[in-house]
């Protein structure tokens, strides 16, 4: 399976994403610069964390208009797995691939620490290796993770089971309904503030994020074995 790790000016979790796909999963991975114009050779797209374009104007607002984003939209429409973590999530929101928007953390502080997440939906291509309601520990590192959407959007998210991760216990940023990660209605675009790629080895303080990446590969192998 071939993973694309999109790199914007200011991305800083691209190396961790690459490491998760290449070294931990043992799959193929390649960095793709933001002004590239094709993702055709890839089976999955990873949008890493960081501060693309310095977070100028709004987080993800400028990255969203990078040439590669047209290709990310195409990949999403084609049903390929698209994972956006932290700034990657913010970019997906700005691009309209996921509903809602980010506000500054309620505390106005940048928060960097491990948090407990609850897997609310384990029937996605990103979470099938987890148990439903399993509590996992994944680090967060963000100043703008205070997810917001209007009531109608929230009702839709709930009705379609699109809330994939919630903060368990304390909500670190004030997000609506303790939301930490959501998926699109089609079920192939996941955005989350916590960093699963920073939790793929006990040496890093935990490996609870590894199952997320393994789920993607598992799903891909299953669908492609059927076709073969």
């Amino acid at each position: 399976m071939r993973f694309a790790v999109i790199v914007f000016p200011g991305s800083n979790c691209d190396v961790d994403m690459y490491h998760a796909a290449k070294d931990e999963l043992g799959e193929e991975a390649e960095y793709v610069w933001h002004d590239s114009t094709s993702l055709e050779d890839f089976d999955a797209v990873l949008l890493p964390g960081g501060f693309s374009f310095g977070d100028y104007l709004r987080t993800g607002a400028i990255a969203r208009f990078s040439p590669i984003m047209n290709e990310v939209v195409k990949a999403a429409e084609a049903g390929k797995p698209v994972l956006g973590v932290c700034n990657g999530f913010q970019v997906l929101l700005e691009a309209g691939l996921l509903p809602g928007a980010m506000r500054r953390n309620e505390s106005l502080k940048f928060i960097c620490r491990p948090v407990q997440l609850k897997v609310k939906n384990n029937e996605t291509m990103f979470t099938s290796s987890y148990q439903k309601d399993e509590v996992i520990q994944i680090p967060i590192a963000h100043g703008e993770g205070n997810y917001y959407c209007d009531e109608q959007t929230l009702a839709n998210l709930k009705a379609n089971n699109q809330i994939v991760f919630t903060y368990d216990g304390t909500n670190p940023n004030g997000s609506i309904e303790d939301i930490a990660g959501i998926i699109n209605a089609q079920g192939n675009v996941l955005g989350m503030m916590p960093h699963p790629e920073r939790a793929v080895d006990p040496l890093l303080g935990g490996a609870d994020g590894l199952k997320l990446f393994k789920s993607i590969v598992k799903q891909w192998r299953e669908t492609h074995a059927v076709k073969a």
Binding site: L57, E94, P99, R103, E106, L108, Y148, C149, D150
Partner: protein
């Protein structure tokens, strides 16, 4: 040439954590009569005249990039300046 001033603020329905912090600070400084503080952005754009209607162009830019319609409102002022 046009000078365009764009003001972007969080929507009324969206809680503004920065505004809330500033309001609290003003309150402790002895301004208890401050009812609300909303923090926003101010941008100045200089535009050349084109065939398109200036209002249409500015609104398009506001909708697409300068504001995020999910959480923000915008308003703008357009001044036509004479190039000497």
């Amino acid at each position: 040439m046009y000078k365009v001033k764009v003001y972007v603020t969080l929507r009324e329905s969206v809680l503004d954590p920065q505004g809330t912090a500033v309001k609290k600070s003003l309150d402790t400084m002895g301004y208890p009569n401050v009812q609300d503080v909303r923090i926003g952005k101010y941008m100045e754009l200089t535009l050349e005249k084109t065939e398109r209607k200036i209002e249409e162009v500015v609104e398009e830019m506001c909708e697409r990039l300068l504001s995020n319609p999910v959480i923000e409102d915008y308003r703008y002022e357009i001044e036509e300046s004479v190039v000497l």
